[in-house]
Amino acid sequence: MNFAKNRTVSTVPAAKTGLPVWMMGLVADRLRADANRLLAFLFNQGILDEQFLQLQQLRDESSPNFVSEVVNIHFHESEKLLRNLRSLLMDREFSGYNKMGIHLNQFMGSSSSIGAKRIRNACFAFRAASEQNSRAGCLRALELLEHDYCFLKNKLHELFQIQQQRVLAAGARYPMQN
């Protein structure tokens, strides 16, 4: 590769990506476009709100994985809360709208903190159903919540994967700078 002589990078294919380094520029651009497209989609659909951007801004060299760490904690907590909500509703001797309210408030709080707008709204609807003491309404709301949650989880994992690849691409392209 002729232009390798002008750069201080290796001509050997970047091990992790399997691509020759000269192609990395194209890959990095495409990854950035992918990430932006995904984020734009999530914003336009009302799935995420500005708080998520605020989180992104808190990333830096000392905490590059801050957003994915927080989001993963949120997912872990959410799954617990969803399980609790479902088991409360499925309980034959169901009476605990109060307890559901507590779980819902927690869920709303942490969703709000990571910018998960649609989930937060689904929680509001769930809470309304529980305030009307409507078990059927609550079940429907729970299903919607579970669905929205799964969707968000998949999309955010996709986003984090793209971001990981971008980091790898940047690292392979400029190994001297690492």
């Binding site: 989180l55 808190l58 801050f66 904690i73 927690q106 709080g109 903190s113």
Partner: protein, 193 residues
């Protein structure tokens, strides 16, 4: 002789939610504050050196700020809704303690309820922040910490100056009385113990 006003401020953050704790910690660190997080009001009071079983008597400080409290806390930021001791309860306890009442307290809440906000401000909270808290919200904290630190610093400096500066006889008399009062107070406190 001056205290380094540029030394880092130490914030104690209280929230029962692990996500909120992680977030507020990151926000505070990004703003260059030292942070300690705890998950309950009780633990916050322990950290501040105030133990639950000690009576809150304005004449008898439960804690001597320089001995008991190992770490200086320049601000407490707490969630309002917590199981057990709420943020409001914590605020009250801090303001009722003669050793802690000068520490600025900030309340966070995800709910925008005017009566709650008023209640907290009336009880002595410096700020009431709506969650999710932003970096820009934290800019409001620095003036409170600076003011408290300056006030403490000035009080200490005044005492130093009184000893070394030229004093008129009248001033010396005043100073003497002040010192006597201080000692009287301390003897009383020791008497109580």
């Amino acid at each position: 002789m001056g205290m380094a006003a540029e030394s880092q401020f130490h914030v104690l953050a209280v929230d029962d939610s692990i996500i909120e704790r992680k977030l507020i910690e990151r926000l505070l660190k990004t703003s260059s504050y030292q942070v300690t997080t705890v998950d309950s009001g009780t633990k916050a009071l322990e950290f501040l050196g105030l133990h639950q079983d000690e009576t809150i008597n304005p004449n008898t400080p439960s804690v001597s700020p320089n001995n008991h409290q190992e770490v200086e806390v320049n601000l407490v930021i707490t969630d309002y809704c917590m199981p057990g001791m709420t943020g409001y309860d914590l605020l009250k306890k801090v303001k009722e303690s003669s050793s802690l009442r000068n520490i600025p307290v900030v309340i966070m809440s995800s709910e925008n309820v005017p009566s709650k906000i008023t209640r907290c401000l009336e009880e002595g909270a410096e700020e009431f922040l709506l969650k999710p808290v932003r970096l820009s919200d934290l800019n409001k904290l620095r003036p409170h910490m600076l003011r408290t630190k300056l006030r403490d610093h000035n009080q200490k400096q005044e005492k130093q100056e009184e000893k070394t500066a030229f004093q008129s006889p009248k001033q010396q008399k005043i100073e003497q009385n002040l010192q006597q009062q201080q000692q009287q107070c301390n003897t009383n406190k020791r008497g109580h113990r």
